[in-house]
């Protein structure tokens, strides 16, 4: 029988990761709260269910590849990688401080971080490169690439979308954290993306539209994506910016603002009592 996701375990991990994120951001005094909290289940469903890797050998040649294209969401990735034991949890509080491996946007060199990112729109092209490299190396690895919705304004994303489809890169699985906000405001007000599913389908992608906070749907989407042959897959995940903390949710002010001490205490209380 195929592997089944342990839903309760994944939900518990997601909650713990959220707590680490708000703590880390408060400690740093700056950073991207909203977009880190919206992508938590997308990472947890991947790393704690689907992803092939060995945290003690981060560059192991048979590993799957995760490319964080929306680099500003790195607090979520750092929290997940620490939880996976790629590095120690204590290092999380060095975020954004001088000499840290946890740069304000991800930098190659930190175990588990595959690319340096931060300038939006570059990840999917790199993921395609990894996928072509895997094909040349006859390596069955899968390549995941997480993008933001505002990021889809970048033309390079659509250049890369053509490339994935043209080369039938079925080892590529894109993920969109569709939290409906970008820095300047609501995505639909700034530069509308709809109909987004149809756009990706017309570019030759298989699209799985899901609730990005439902770990069961997330895990199953990755399973389904792996079975698609001859074309790339996209997990279009509807999410809530700032998810998990009532006063961050859909408050775009927290796009690039970290919680202060008072907000942190309230946030942790909410997250801990959340069912």
């Amino acid at each position: 029988m195929a592997k089944q996701p342990d839903i309760n375990r994944l939900k518990k991990i997601a909650k713990e990761v959220r707590i680490e994120i708000v703590k880390m951001l408060n400690c740093a005094g700056s950073g991207h709260t909203g977009g880190s909290l919206s992508m938590v289940e997308l990472l947890v469903g991947l790393y704690f269910y689907k992803f092939k890797c060995d945290p003690s050998k981060p560059l192991c040649s048979t590993r799957d590849i995760f490319v964080l294209s929306k680099g500003h969401g790195c607090p979520a990735l750092y929290a997940v990688l620490a939880k996976m034991n790629f590095f120690s949890k204590e290092e999380l509080c060095t975020l954004r401080k001088i000499g840290t491996r946890l740069q304000g946007h991800p930098q190659i060199g930190l175990p588990g971080v595959e690319i340096s990112s931060g300038s939006l729109g570059q990840g999917l092209s790199i993921a395609n490169g990894f996928a072509l490299g895997a094909r040349l190396n006859k390596d069955p690895k899968r390549v995941y690439c997480l993008m933001g919705d505002g990021e889809l304004d970048e033309g390079q994303v659509w250049e890369a979308a053509l490339t994935s489809a043209h080369y039938k890169l079925d080892n590529v699985c894109g993920i969109i954290d569709y939290n409906k906000f970008q820095i300047d405001g609501r995505v639909e007000d700034i530069k509308g993306l709809e109909p987004l599913k149809a756009k990706w389908q017309s570019f030759g992608w298989e699209v799985f539209e899901i609730d990005g906070h439902n770990v069961k749907e997330v895990a199953e989407a990755y399973d389904k994506a792996e079975k698609i042959k001859g074309k790339p897959s996209m997990v279009l995940a509807h999410t809530v910016k700032g998810k998990g903390v009532s006063f961050f949710e859909n408050k775009n002010k927290y796009h690039g603002v970290a919680p202060n001490k008072e907000e942190l205490e309230k946030a942790i209380k909410e997250l801990e009592t959340e069912k």
Partner: protein, 317 residues
């Protein structure tokens, strides 16, 4: 003696084919200029290691980075104007910042592109590329050097920018000459002035050397094929021993090779300097030879600049 003319892009194409034969980790990408960049010569022999990227330079740089991170040595080929201009941020973040093993090949550098005009004449890429940390910038002077630069850069770690030309240029180096990335070559010794040149201007500098000799002026000629990392020692030695320097490049004088030389000398051995290059303007359509005259890039222009630098030196004494 008749001089053989050959474009540097042809030498590069030959180098790629040789690399394909000797190494199986070489992968080539092209942004729809496969024949023009000579990437086609590799594609014909090793189609499984060639990927067409279409007119998408930004995507090409990212794809190249991913392939490089998978253990490949990637040559990403397009015109210099688009490699360095259109895709600069991708080169900055996905290549230079990450130190990925990607060799960016920009053909059609300089005004020698000719008739296609300003949008296609890259006069800015040496500047755009050399300001990036971790980037190596090479501009071969002829087809033989271009072939050797291609082969050498495949074994040189990290990102490299290779600047090549469209038109035939005199073949002035020999297969047995030493070529080492980061080490400039002294072509002619001289004591009155040093002409530091790169690319096709190396030939013009050699012609200027002969013309100056007739006037009893002894001009040293240096081929600075690697703009970054720059060969400080040879440059400082030349300035110290001649007391006057002329730089010559087929590129804007703002931020290019001459600026790089000036950065070295102003700190270590300031001497009067003159700059031969494109004078802060865009190119234009025309016959390359006529454009060289119009833009002041000929041996005659170097001769005049050399005399001016020497006069400034003598005025200081």
């Amino acid at each position: 003696m008749e001089i053989k003319m050959k474009p540097t892009r042809d030498g590069f194409g030959e180098g790629l084919v040789e690399l394909g034969q000797t190494r199986d980790d070489i992968v080539v990408l092209s942004a729809d200029l496969t024949e023009s960049t000579r990437a086609a010569w590799f594609k014909d022999k090793f189609p499984e290691r060639f990927f067409a990227m279409g007119v998408s330079e930004q995507d090409m740089m990212g794809t190249a980075a991913g392939l490089a991170l998978s253990g490949k040595v990637v040559f990403a080929c397009t015109f210099g104007a688009f490699a360095a201009g259109r895709a600069w941020d991708q080169v900055r973040v996905s290549l230079a910042y990450m130190k990925t093993n990607v060799k960016v090949v920009g053909t059609h550098g300089g005004i020698s592109v000719g008739e296609d005009g300003p949008t296609h004449q890259a006069n800015e890429e040496l500047a755009l590329m050399r300001i990036l940390p971790n980037m190596t910038v090479i501009i071969p002077c002829d087809a033989i050097e271009a072939k050797r630069a291609a082969i050498a850069s495949a074994s040189y770690p990290g990102p490299v920018y290779l600047r090549l030309g469209r038109s035939g240029v005199p073949v002035i180096t020999k297969e047995e000459d030493i070529f080492e990335i980061g080490k400039a070559n002294l072509l002619k010794d001289g004591k009155d002035v040093a002409v530091i040149a790169c690319g096709v201007e190396v030939y013009e500098a050699l012609c200027a050397h002969e013309a100056l000799k007739k006037e009893n002026i002894s001009a040293r000629v240096i081929n600075l094929h690697t703009v970054k990392p720059i060969d400080k020692d040879l440059i400082i030695k030349a300035a110290r021993e001649t007391g006057a320097v002329v730089t010559a490049e087929e590129h804007t004088i703002v931020g290019g090779m001459g600026s790089a030389v000036s950065e070295v000398l102003s700190q270590s051995c300031p001497v009067p300097m003159e700059f031969i290059g494109v004078k802060d303007r865009f190119g234009e359509s025309g016959d390359p030879k006529e454009l060289f005259k119009l833009f002041g890039l000929t041996a005659d222009d170097i001769v005049k600049a050399a005399k001016k630098a020497i006069a400034r030196k003598n005025a200081r004494d």
